[in-house]
Symmetry: C2
Subunit: 421 residues, 2 copies
């Protein structure tokens, strides 16, 4: 075990680490430890990660990976349908469902080392011996699924359509669209990568779909219930006012109308948002705070002291200007200023390394869930037109999907649309 101070004398353990060591029966308690602390002097409640956590795939109303408190990593991928046959799509969704149910239990999708020597392994193997790490795989269906080609035109969720063009759009070829999406999230990125890799392999083998674009998210940038608020790569807390309560999920996230098979579904909007972090890093702190409408360190609104203080949008400074600037991100996005509208954000940080100009290339894989894609469009239209943050970000990728509810055991994702017609 890495944290064993006998084997690794240079490692300093936290008090929590020692408690853990004692609980797990190791020698940790025999060693004097120093409390490791962040720059703020607070102990960090998220310090202990238990990779044994596991979520069920079947049996819940909604697919996992939406209300689920965000895991630490994601591997997100979209696919193009490559077969005109209804049966191929149906088989793919059934095989994906069966495979995901295994993967979420930490099991391979098939034999890794078959006994017949001329056989090909059904699972690629790199997640063997790894625990489930809270893996969830969320499947989305794009607009092209619901067409005459597959006999599914009549089943289209009535709000599913391509997103309208927005003022912030600066899309790059190869980073938009897709007929299917997989959002694999886990507390171990090798587990998430393995899941998407093996599901992509199934798509290829069935001939039903081919990879389109992908983003790996290495740090969550939205908080779920009970989680402390993480930071995006602009250094600010992201998701302080995110949806957390069941009543808000019911009101803003889950689909409640249309055919029964769509209930507890939702619409997934994904945007690859490049952040010009090296330019941002040259901006003075007062301007950074004004762009967000928050203090960078505490996350408090400029009218408050603590992160969760409610912003006072009416408050004026001595010169008669609003303390929360007219074009700050928080003001433009706040539900108070958007007729109560809220969307669930479930974003991750990403990096693409260094670009051709030698500049750090990084940003936010923004993923939102909402009961109506128009909610995203309403908010983003406003942000895209006025947000001072636009100077430092570009929406370079985009896609939209309907996420159907979870299947019951013995069934598969989307089964009812095939059964009904």
């Amino acid at each position: 075990m890495k944290d064993d101070p006998i084997k690794n004398p240079h490692l300093r353990l936290s008090r929590r680490g020692l408690l853990l060591g004692a609980a797990a029966g190791t020698v940790g308690a025999a060693v004097a430890g120093t409390a490791a602390q962040g720059a703020t002097g607070e102990a960090n409640a998220d310090d202990i990660v238990d990779l044994a956590g596991e979520y069920p795939f079947y049996g819940n109303a909604e697919q996992a990976g939406i209300r689920t408190p965000p895991q630490r990593y994601t591997f997100y991928m979209t696919f193009d349908l490559t077969s005109p046959l209804r049966a191929d799509l149906q088989v793919l969704l059934a095989r994906w469902s069966a495979a995901i149910s295994q993967l979420m239990k930490g099991k391979p999708v098939g034999q890794i080392e078959p006994s017949r020597p001329d056989a090909i392994g059904l699972d690629t193997g790199e997640a063997l011996n790894l625990s489930p790490a809270c893996l969830t795989v969320t499947v989305g269906l794009g607009p092209n699924v619901f067409t005459d080609a597959y006999g599914l035109a009549g089943h289209r969720p009535h709000l599913l359509r391509e997103l309208k063009q927005l003022p912030s759009d600066a899309f790059r070829p190869g980073l938009t669209g897709g007929d299917l999406s997989l959002q694999a999230c886990a507390d171990d990125p090798q587990v998430a990568y393995h899941a998407v890799r093996d599901l992509a392999r199934i798509a290829k083998v069935t001939g039903a779909a081919a990879t389109r674009w992908t983003v790996m998210g290495f740090g969550r940038a939205s908080a779920g219930k009970g989680q402390s608020t993480p930071r995006n790569l602009l250094g600010f807390k992201d998701g302080t006012r995110n949806i957390r309560e069941d009543a808000d999920f019911d009101r803003f996230v889950w689909v409640k109308d249309g055919p029964g098979w769509q209930h507890h579904g939702t619409y997934q909007v994904v945007r690859k948002i490049q952040m010009h972090i090296e330019a941002w890093d040259t901006d003075r702190i007062s301007d950074q705070n004004a762009v967000f409408g928050r203090h960078k360190v505490s996350g408090a609104p400029l009218t408050g002291v603590h992160e969760f203080d409610t912003p006072d949008f009416a408050k004026m400074d001595v010169a008669g200007n609003p303390v929360m600037p007219a074009t700050c991100h928080v003001r433009l996005a706040a539900f108070e200023n958007n007729e109560g509208l809220r969307i669930l954000r479930r974003s991750y940080n990403y990096t693409d390394g260094i670009n051709q100009y030698g500049v750090l290339d990084a940003g936010l894989l923004f993923i939102s869930y909402q009961s109506d894609p128009a909610h995203f469009e309403t908010l983003q239209t406003k942000l895209g037109a006025s947000d001072r943050l636009n100077e430092y970000i570009s929406h370079i990728g985009s896609a939209i999907f309907f996420v159907p509810p979870a299947p019951q055991e013995g069934s598969y994702i989307g089964a009812q649309m095939f059964a009904d017609g």
Copy 2:
């Protein structure tokens, strides 16, 4: 806390998680849990990650990040020197050292939110509130550091030179060389990313160096002492026979001759090795096993049953062929077949997403440490010429650096070469 079963009723906790919950004073113990297990039915000793772990920067003989049991993630970057001035290089190494000592304690490199509103934050902030996560940052000096331009030609470690051309070389523009290297490793990738980002920013601000190429490693692919052997993206255990004992470190890793300031230094070789994983995934299992000379699931040599069984290179099958094939990876790389030669591997898996042909683009960030770069060349010359694995891999990036020993508190990396003349 994410794992709180009250707040997150769908999450199943392992028995270890419950122990942890009890130790940390949460309600975990009140909830019935199911033991989460891998496909093999074994509990996983690496399930608990404590992000509070911290390594010291100063005071050890060697830099951290070499003998240190590999953390879960790396962000590796090389730099070009952009100033002809000796003082600029000196200032950069001093500023990097001071910054790294802070970063390894989980502290920012400077004020994030200065009180003067027109000031620019000295730290980009995204790691604030995160624990050290066992961060190590290892600094390497490339061949061009030791030139007349900097008055350092006379200080060149006598084995430092460009690697000779090897049969496996298939380098891509922009993925080779560098005058300085940073290997940041941590159990939280946001911590590793933040470290490299802020150190790159210091390089830019001082005018001394600019980013060259970078790779993010998302899963370790070499084991250190006390760690179970991880898997590479070909699904095989990697690093079963890696160096673990102090005597082998002394014999094969640390520099013991030359000027005193080089003692406890080492040579770092880095290769970006692309793996053609989709082709590999179509290969039959008997061939995969023969390519490595090991069983995929157990990691045992083809002549053995358990992972750590010593390969029997003389053993023949009934047809009179060696059970460990003549061109298998293990046979070619084994110290028994290379006059006892060993190198320390400290590699990570990486992915670059999907390439222009729609194929998954992934591989291994191979990093090795050795007391003589010729040791790497000897092994890689043999592997590059004969290894059957070559059908499935390409060495697309490469660089070499001398890694000086760790500084004492109050000094900085490489200080002695400036002091000496």
